[in-house]
């Protein structure tokens, strides 16, 4: 077990400031406090080499969880082990085991060229010379970083910087990688490059990856397992297929066009109970839940009617996620 979080909880205490000057003066002496339960009783286990998509709406507690796993924040309650270590108490050793990318904050040195930043990291993590060279060459090549490797970080575009951030987080061969919204604000090409790179790192190096994102394409392409957090609590933990079954039942559909006008679409009894029919002239959409297989439905339809343009649709991950977030 690479990551093991049990009953993980984080409360923030926020000082509420009053409005205006008067409120400010008041809060100097007596401040009202409010407790925010950012993460509540989260259990998360990840095996070596797993890639988990950690999703949830803004403010759900995703970043707070990652900050506790990476040793930045101390949990209010519960226990965390990353590679067998308590990330906060053994912060320095834990830092050697993990890599982290926060899409919203840079880990690089603003005034230094990318190449020098890597050199600093080499010294900081004591990376053996041969590993360092191999990693830099491979990352530079795969992420096409050559053109901007000698520019100061502050001069990079977001896409260039993000590629540098991800490469930087992996130079020391971490066992675990935390990616907190790594594709935020990136154009399609860079997104694809980042996804391919993450896939490759996970597959070839067996790096355990926890990924948060609002881009569902990331999730669809990368994460077999999804953990959904909302209001600080885990609402779902399982495969993409299970997620779809749980939240988007009834979102499967078969659409077709009738070749002849018919008054009513009739389905065999076993199927009819699980289907709803939408119709607009000859264009028909039959929606059904997952207890009905699309092929059975099509066979039943073809036996009774003459159809063209048959189109089968599964639940869209957008629908699923919207459903989950609504809870």
């Amino acid at each position: 077990m690479v990551i093991q979080a049990t009953g993980l909880t984080k409360d923030y205490v926020i000082n509420l400031k009053g409005k205006g000057l008067k409120g400010m003066a008041k809060s100097l002496f007596k401040s009202e406090k409010k407790t925010v339960h950012a993460v509540q009783d989260v259990n998360l286990q990840m095996d070596e080499g797993e890639l988990v998509g950690y999703i949830g709406p803004n403010g759900a507690g995703k970043s707070t969880t990652i900050k506790m796993l990476s040793g930045i924040l101390a949990p209010t309650a519960g226990s965390v082990r990353v590679c067998g270590l308590d990330p906060q108490k053994r912060r320095i050793q834990n830092a050697m085991n993990i890599g982290a990318v926060f899409g919203q904050k840079t880990q690089l040195w603003w005034d230094l060229p990318v190449r020098e930043t890597f050199e600093l990291l080499r010294r900081m993590y004591n990376i053996p010379a041969d590993r360092y060279k191999k990693n830099v060459d491979e990352f530079m090549d795969f992420l096409d970083m050559g053109p901007f490797a000698d520019q100061a970080v502050r001069q990079l575009s977001l896409g260039q910087r993000m590629r540098a951030e991800i490469a930087a987080s992996l130079l020391h061969d971490p066992k675990v990688l935390f990616l907190d919204e790594p594709t935020i604000g990136l154009d399609v090409n860079v997104k694809v490059a980042v996804r391919e790179f993450v896939k490759k790192i996970n597959k070839e190096r067996g790096v355990t990856i926890l990924l948060t994102t609002h881009d569902l394409q990331d999730i669809e392409e990368l994460a077999k397992r999804i953990v959904v957090i909302n209001h600080g609590q885990v609402g779902f933990d399982g495969s993409q297929a299970e997620l779809a079954r749980k939240y988007a039942d009834g979102k499967h559909s078969v659409s077709f066009t009738l070749q002849q006008e018919v008054s009513d679409i009739l389905l065999p009894e076993g199927l009819a109970a699980h289907c709803t029919i939408q119709r607009e002239g000859r264009n028909v959409k039959v929606m059904h839940d997952s207890s009905v297989s699309s092929s059975d439905l099509i066979v039943a339809l073809v036996q009774r009617y003459r159809l063209t343009d048959i189109d089968i649709e599964g639940p869209q991950i957008e629908d699923v996620v919207m459903e989950v977030y609504r809870e």
Partner: protein
């Protein structure tokens, strides 16, 4: 293990600092202005003492050049602190905008990260000025320091800057609870003004305060008293070392406690 760790930091430090200087040097005029301003500030204080002594031959047993020596010692310690430990001024900013996160992600002590991240070269202006007036004072007092005393002097200056640094760190640590602490840091910095003159000229209560509460007096008055051969009590020579050790210990423990309270920021 601890030795290995220390060696790791010693090797890493110059590399980090040279990077910091590299990025600071891209603003060259800033650097020269800074050195000039820093030396000028100290110079004004010198003029002040000189003006006071135009009217009186000595102050509570301290002659003009003895006072100048104390003044020079304080300038050296303060300058070293300014030069080497400038990073402590960035703590508040790191905590406020959440960039302290990235220091916690590195496999290094956070205090080391803070120190290695920033040096303020213009502190050298103060150091050079202090050194110059100390040498002038020694010549005028016709004092030749033994090798032992010169070594003590170096140690005392290191201890003095560590005391300033520790007090700064204690103030900076408060930013883990209170968001803006720069004004309190400036206030404590202003207290260091007192160390430019022998504490013997102050009220008893202030002497106790500068010795036991905020032990700034160990950066100038005590070691100067010993170096100038004016005092022989052990507090004048062992005091600076003990005070620095105590200050660093308190600062490090408080820092460790404070970083545990770090709340990060934003998403």
């Amino acid at each position: 293990m601890a030795v290995k760790r220390l060696w790791f930091y010693i090797k890493l430090y110059p590399y980090f600092v040279s990077r910091s200087i590299q990025s600071r040097m891209s603003y060259k005029s800033d650097f020269f202005l800074g050195v000039g301003a820093s030396a000028l500030m100290q110079g004004l204080g010198y003029v002040f003492i000189w003006a006071v002594f135009q009217g009186i031959p000595e102050m509570n047993g301290w002659s003009f050049y003895q006072m100048v020596f104390v003044y020079g010692m304080a300038a050296i310690s303060l300058g070293l602190n300014e030069f080497l430990f400038a990073g402590s001024w960035n703590v508040g900013k790191h905590v406020r905008d959440g960039s302290f996160d990235r220091l916690l992600l590195r496999p290094m002590g956070t205090l080391f990260s803070i120190l290695a991240e920033d040096v303020a070269l213009h502190g050298i202006g103060s150091v050079l000025f202090g050194l110059a007036v100390c040498i002038v004072a020694l010549c005028r007092l016709h004092l030749a320091l033994s090798l032992g005393k010169i070594l003590f002097w170096i140690v005392a200056m290191a201890c003095g800057s560590l005391i300033f640094f520790s007090v700064n760190i204690v103030c900076a640590t408060v930013s883990f609870w209170v968001t803006d602490i720069s004004s309190s840091m400036v206030m404590v910095q202003n207290v260091s003004e007192f160390t430019k003159y022998p504490i013997a000229i102050y009220d008893r209560k202030l002497q106790v305060f500068l010795t036991y509460v905020i032990p700034f007096a160990f950066s100038s008055y005590y070691p100067a008293g010993f170096l100038l051969g004016m005092e022989s009590s052990p507090i004048y020579w062992i005091g600076p070392i003990l005070a620095a050790a105590a200050a660093v210990t308190v600062a490090a423990l408080f820092w460790r406690y404070g970083t545990g309270k770090y709340q990060s920021a934003g998403g």
